[in-house]
């Protein structure tokens, strides 16, 4: 028994060290730096009272949530489709879809500008059609588009891997009991893909919360937390505020993901 425990501790040691070195210590450090500025611990209160900070927190979470939802829907549909229907060019399409994985955020931002910027494709088309130029690259919508574009590849790959493991007999059983394709989707395919959706969604959300390069490229008017932290840090040299914001950003993201996980977990338990 004692031997067992010792072995367990030994096996957990690497993870424990990494966790302490790269997570616990920096977070603790960040927490204290956040309270070490001119205003002291009030820096944390400011996040809730100062509308600049609070708004940016909400738009960050909002854009991340919207990105996650859109990415899951798009990747869910195309991932299942691509896994099920092997057509000529299927492999090429999949490899092209996974292309954006290799791009840094700056390039993604640049692509959004080319598409929805002042000289962008969407602008030209809408001008020709309606006389009104549609430009949204430099707003949260542009950011949302960039994030979705960036998140789709890994989500599609996760969904495809999970879709491959779905048991086709389950769908056939459901159909034999009278289920329409729509009911099969709701009752068999989506529940079957749920673990993949949760893990891919979590990564997608966290990435969208923290992504900086794209926002930086699309610039100025976008008020998301990573941008605010950057501004506080480099331009205002308000290191304490930057730390406080970073700490809160980390905690809130962690909280949202934990909540999503339990909600998904308990809904599985309730249904099962």
């Amino acid at each position: 028994m004692r031997h067992e425990t010792r072995r367990l501790i030994l096996l957990l040691l690497p993870a424990g060290i990494v966790f302490a070195a790269f997570f616990l210590l920096p977070m603790a450090r960040l927490f204290f730096i956040g309270g070490s500025g001119k205003t002291g611990w009030a820096a944390y209160a400011a996040i809730l009272t100062d509308s600049l900070y609070l708004d940016s927190l909400f738009s960050t979470l909002g854009v991340a949530a919207a990105t996650t939802a859109a990415t899951l829907v798009i990747s869910g549909i195309s991932g299942v489709f691509l896994q099920r229907h092997k057509f000529p060019g299927n492999a090429l399409l999949v490899s092209m879809l996974t292309f954006p994985l290799a791009f840094p955020g700056v390039v993604i931002g640049f692509m959004v500008i080319m598409l929805a910027g002042r000289q962008g494709l969407i602008g030209q088309v809408t001008q020709a059609l309606t006389g009104e130029k549609l430009v949204f690259a430099y707003t949260l919508s542009g950011l949302f588009m960039g994030y979705v574009y960036f998140s789709i590849p890994r989500t599609i790959l996760t969904v495809m891997a999970a879709a491959e493991k779905l048991d086709p007999k389950l769908e056939e059983a459901a159909r034999s009991l009278g289920a329409s394709p729509w009911r099969v989707l709701l009752d068999v395919i989506i529940p079957g893909l749920k673990p993949a959706f949760i893990s891919a969604g979590a990564i997608c959300f966290a990435t969208a919360v923290g992504a900086f390069g794209t926002a930086f490229t699309l610039a100025a008017r976008i008020n998301v937390l990573p941008m605010v932290i950057y501004t506080e840090f480099t331009l205002s040299a308000n290191i304490a505020m930057a730390a406080a914001l970073s700490f809160v950003l980390g905690i809130v993201t962690w909280l949202v993901l934990a909540l999503a996980r339990t909600a998904a977990g308990s809904s599985v338990a309730a249904a099962g």
Partner: protein, 348 residues
Amino acid sequence: MTDTAKPVSISLANCAKTFADGTRALEPLDLAIHAGETVVFLGPSGCGKTTTLRIIAGLEEPDAGGKVLFDGVDVTHLPIEQRNVGMVFQSYALFPNMTVAGNVGYGLRIRKVPEAEIKARVSEMLAMMQITRLADRRIDQLSGGQRQRVALARAIAVRPRALLLDEPLTALDAKLRDTLRLEIDSLLRSLGITAIYVTHDQAEAMALGDRIVVMEHGRVAQIGKPREIYQRPATRFVAEFIGTMNRLTGSVRNGTFTCRAGGVAWAQAPAAATEILFRPEDIRVVESGEATGLSGTVAAAFFLGDRTRLFVDVGEAQPLVIESTARRDFSHGDPVGLAIDPRGLLVL
């Protein structure tokens, strides 16, 4: 409340199946299944049993020209969800995100049956399959036998017009297979439902089928009652696939089939016969002293308690298999006299 919809008669006309990759799984096939009858598709792996079942279910469409009729109505292009057939798979295919009761009630919920009625029907089904106490279990908490009971209950709950079972017992261990086979048998009889049962196990086919369709390489080799298939196999393939078949080679002369081991008196022997076939139960070891003109030597003997299974060398490629109930010991090399009941003789 009746337990099933009125049983349906099913017929296949000219149903062939070629898969997209060019695999010819089924040659053009005609088949008539009567309402309320249990038909077993029997044959070795890959002979097209599942494909035929899936065409009947509506999971596959036959090649152009093929037709599937339910009670004379063409359902060839009707998808499975509109055919009202119950399916039971080898792999159970239970929904892991639902409880046992949730699985059994699924088809009723799809049909928007009132909740109270669903509850009643589900408990009726669970009681019938003797799994009432499992109602709230998750699927991963069940054994294989329990899972297949749930799958049966789920398939029957909606009162399907026909029940289609694809090797439902193959994944279970031998003992459970026997128990569940009996249960399925009495279930099918009590429901009076049209049932199609796919298996590669001839004992299962014999026990369950009102009729057996023996298949080989995408073709029907023989259709008949279990007894007919066993006693009057139409082809060598059927003869050898079902049960054990003994064989002697030789030629016919004046009402006697002569082979290396001696002669077999057979008045109706076809003159051109060069090989005769017979079952182990149609040959016996005679008491010493009784002369039959046929003899061999014991190659191996297995005492099974109620009988001894003997392998007797008669100078052929394969030894004869004989079930002896004689109260005596046999050992390797013993010379034995043999007698064959001519009523059991076949020429194919």
